[in-house]
Symmetry: C2
Subunit: 431 residues, 2 copies
C-alpha cells in the first residue's frame, strides 16, 4: 500500500527565446518552461508531472500546484485507483478554487501536472510505460477514470464502454505492431516564424531526408512571407508529403478564410488555430469555407466540454489534445473517446518542453485501444529540449518508437532541473 507523502513544485525555464525556437505569430518570444511537480511516496518511488508554460507566469502554476497539493498528499495509490474519476473531481472541483476556472486556465494547468504525476506513479509501480498501463486496464476501468459531467449528451458512459469493448479484438496484435513499427508523426521544427528562409530550407530538406511525412509551418504575420515560405516548403516536400500550417489564433473569422484560400494552391493539409481557440462557431464557419483544407485546433482547448462542442458542431477535422492543457490523463481519455465517437483523428499537440514525451503515450493508447483505423492519426514532433529528459522520445524514419520505460516519460534529469530552475539556477543567474 503506497501512500503519497509529499508534493513539491518547481519553476523550470529554458531560455528558448534567445534563438527564436518556438516563435510564431502569437508567441514571438517563448521561453519554453514547466511548472514541474514531484510526488514522493512512503515506498521511495516518485511520480513526476509537469505543465507546459512559456516563461513569465510559470510561478502562478507552481503556486497553484501548491494550492492543490493537499488533494493528493496523504492519499494511497490503492485509494486513488479505486475511484479514479472521483480523485480527478477532487482536483478540479475544490469548492472555492473552482471559481478561478472553472476547469480552465492556471488552476486547470496545475491540476494536470498533479494528475499526470499520479498516473506516472501508478504506471511506474506497475512497471509499465503509461500507454501499456492504460492498455492493460479493462474498458470498465477506463470508463471509471472519466468524469462524464457535462458531456453525457455527446458521450454517455455506456457509449464509451461500447467503443472500448468493440476494440478489444485484435488489441494484442495492434500493440505488437506499435512496438515493432512505431507511430506516424510529423515535425514542427522546420517552420518557426522567427527562422530565416535559408534555415527553413535546410531544416526542411533535412526533415525530408530523415523520413518525415509532413512538416508544419507557422503562418499569419505576412501573407507575402507565408506564400513565399509555403512555395519553398512545397518545393522541398514534393507533391506527396504533407504541409500543415499553424496561425496560432491571429485571425478573425473573415480574414482567416481569405488568408487560407490565398495559400490553398500549396496544397495545405490543415490550418491550425485559425482564430480564437474559444470560437467553436467561428471554426465551423472557417472549416466550411476552406475545405478541402482541414481545420485543426486543441492546444488551447481547455476541457472536455469545449472539445465536445467542436465535435458536435463539426467545427474541426483534427483533434489536437494537449496533455496538460486538459486536466491530465483522465480528461484526455474523455476526449480520445469523444473523438472516436465522432470519428475524428487525434493528433496531439507537442510543440513545447515535455509534450512530445507525454503525448506519445496518449497516441499509442488511442491506436491500440480506442479509435479504429489509422486514418489521419499523427503525433506532432518538435526537436528541441529532449536531452533534459530521463526517458526522451525516440524517433526513427519520421516515426515515434513506442516508449518502453515505466511511467509517463515526463521526468526531467535532476541536473537539468537544477540548472534551469528559475530564477536561481546556473542558466539564469547571469541573465
Amino acid at each position: 500500500m503506497t501512500t503519497i507523502t509529499a508534493a513539491r513544485a518547481f519553476d523550470i525555464r529554458f531560455p528558448t527565446s534567445r534563438f527564436l525556437d518556438g516563435s510564431d505569430a502569437m508567441n514571438p518570444d517563448p521561453d519554453y518552461s514547466a511548472a514541474y511537480c514531484v510526488l514522493e511516496t512512503d515506498g521511495g518511488g516518485e511520480g513526476h508531472g509537469l505543465t507546459f508554460t512559456l516563461g513569465r507566469g510559470t510561478e502562478l502554476c507552481v503556486a497553484a500546484i501548491e494550492a492543490l497539493a493537499g488533494k493528493v498528499v496523504g492519499r494511497t495509490l490503492d485509494g486513488i485507483r479505486g475511484d479514479l474519476a472521483g480523485f480527478w473531481r477532487t482536483l478540479v472541483g475544490d469548492t472555492q478554487i473552482r471559481w478561478l476556472g472553472p476547469e480552465k486556465g492556471v488552476v486547470h494547468l496545475a491540476a494536470a501536472a498533479l494528475v499526470n504525476a499520479v498516473w506516472d506513479l501508478m504506471a511506474k509501480e506497475a512497471g509499465l510505460p503509461l500507454w501499456r498501463y492504460l492498455a492493460a486496464m479493462t474498458p470498465e476501468e477506463i470508463v471509471a477514470a472519466i468524469d462524464f459531467r457535462h458531456i453525457t449528451d455527446a458521450l454517455p458512459p455506456e457509449r464509451a464502454l461500447e467503443l472500448l469493448r468493440a476494440r478489444l479484438p485484435g488489441k494484442c496484435e495492434r500493440i505488437a505492431a506499435l512496438e515493432a513499427d512505431g507511430h506516424a508523426a510529423y515535425t514542427t521544427s522546420a517552420g518557426w516564424l522567427g527562422y530565416p528562409d535559408e534555415k527553413i530550407r535546410d531544416l526542411a530538406s533535412a526533415a525530408v531526408e530523415a523520413g518525415w511525412r509532413g512538416i508544419k509551418m507557422k503562418v499569419g504575420a505576412s501573407l507575402a512571407d507565408d506564400r513565399r515560405r509555403a512555395a519553398l516548403l512545397r518545393d522541398v516536400l514534393g507533391p506527396d508529403r504533407l504541409l500543415m500550417t499553424d496561425a496560432n489564433q491571429v485571425w478573425d473569422v473573415g480574414p482567416a478564410i481569405e488568408w487560407v484560400r490565398a495559400l490553398a494552391e500549396f496544397d495545405l493539409y490543415w490550418i491550425e488555430e485559425p482564430t480564437s481557440p474559444d470560437d467553436i462557431l467561428g471554426h465551423a464557419r472557417i472549416r466550411e469555407a476552406v475545405a478541402p483544407v482541414r481545420v485543426a485546433t486543441g492546444e488551447h482547448c481547455h476541457n472536455r466540454v469545449m472539445f465536445k462542442q467542436f465535435l458536435q458542431a463539426g467545427a474541426i477535422d483534427v483533434v489536437q489534445i494537449d496533455a496538460c492543457r486538459l486536466g491530465g490523463v483522465n480528461e484526455a481519455l474523455a476526449v480520445l473517446l469523444m473523438a472516436a465517437a465522432y470519428d475524428k483523428p487525434v493528433c496531439p499537440h507537442a510543440g513545447g518542453v515535455g509534450l512530445c514525451e507525454y503525448v506519445q503515450h496518449l497516441a499509442f493508447f488511442d491506436a491500440a485501444c480506442v479509435r479504429p483505423g489509422d486514418e489521419g492519426r499523427m503525433i506532432e514532433h518538435a526537436a528541441h529540449l529532449h536531452e533534459h529528459f530521463v526517458d526522451p522520445i525516440r524517433i526513427e524514419r519520421g516515426r515515434y518508437l513506442a516508449p518502453q520505460r515505466p511511467g509517463y516519460s515526463a521526468e526531467m534529469k535532476p541536473e537539468s532541473r537544477d540548472a534551469f530552475a528559475f530564477p536561481h539556477g546556473a542558466e539564469w543567474r547571469g541573465a
Copy 2:
C-alpha cells in the same frame, strides 16, 4: 499629467461560509473574497480595483496582479486614455503569460482588477462616477476602448459606432431619469441553498415588503426541495413578481431540461447556469426545450468570444456579464454592445463582494447609452458585505439609485481591508 507609480495587491477574505451566505449547489461553502489592487499615482490619487474570488486560491490572483503590474506602473493616464484598446491588449496579451489563459482563468481575473482600477482612477480624476464618465465619452471614444479581435464577425467597429450614435438623441433625458428613478433590480439574498425554509420565507416576505420585483432561488441539489421552495416563494411573491432560478452548472444537458420542466409550473422567469458555463451548444438546446422559461448565463463566461457565440447561437435570453470575470471595463463594453446588437438584455451578475458596487455602473451606462428600451434589464442584488465599501450601493424600493461619487465604487474601507486581510488580519488570526 498623472503617472501611475505603484500597484499593490491584497488578499482579502470574508468568512461567509460560517453562515452559508452565498451557498449554492456548486459552491456550498464560499468565503467571499477579493484579490484587491491599489494603484498609486504621483498626484496622490489612488485607483482601486478588485477581482471577486471564493476564498482559497485568492493568493493566485494576487500573484497574477503582481505579475501584470508592470504593464500599468509607469504609464500616464494621458497615455492610457490615448489608446485604451491598446492598453487593454498589453494586459491580456503578454506574449508569455497569455499561454496561461488565454483571456480566461486566473490571469484574466487579475487583469480585470488592474483594468478596473485604471478606470476608477480615470473617473475619479474626472470627478465623475464611472457610468457618467463612460456616458461622457463620445461613441468614437467608446469604440476606441474596445479590442475587437475575434469578434468582428458579430460586431465590427462600424456597427458598434452605429449603435452608439443611434442612442445619442435623448441621452441627457435618460441620464436625468436614471438619476431620478434609479434602475430596476432583483435580489438573490433570499434563496441561498444553505438556508432553511423558514429563513427563506422570512427573507422573501421582507423582500416583497421592501419592494423587490423579483427574487432568485438556488436550485439543483434536490428536486423535491426545489419544488417545495419554489412553491413557498411563489406563494410569497404572488403571481406578478418574478421568480428566477439558478442551478450553478450542476446539470448535464438532458437532466437540465427535465428538471426545469418539473419546476415550470411555478412560473420561472429564468433558469441561470443550467449546465457548464462553457457549453454554448448545450445552452442552445436547453433554451429551445424549456421555453418560455428564459435561459441566463454569464458569471463564468470569461471573455467576449464566448458571449459572442452565446448570442450567435441563440443560446441565451439574458446576458449576465461579470465586471471582473470579463477583463474589466473595456471587455464589458464589448459585450454590452454585442448584446445590444442581438437585442438581448444585460442583467449583470452581482452575487459576491464588490460586484453590486461595480456592475451598477455598467447597467446605468447601458441604459443611458447602449441598448434601446428597458425591456428585461435588471441588476442583481445581494445584501451582504456592502458595509465594507467607501461608496456602497444605495437601494430604494427594490431599485438601485444612481451612483454619485467619483470612481468605480469598488474602494474598500481601509479598516475592512486590514481586518479581513488573509491570513494575518484580525478576523482571521484566530481562525
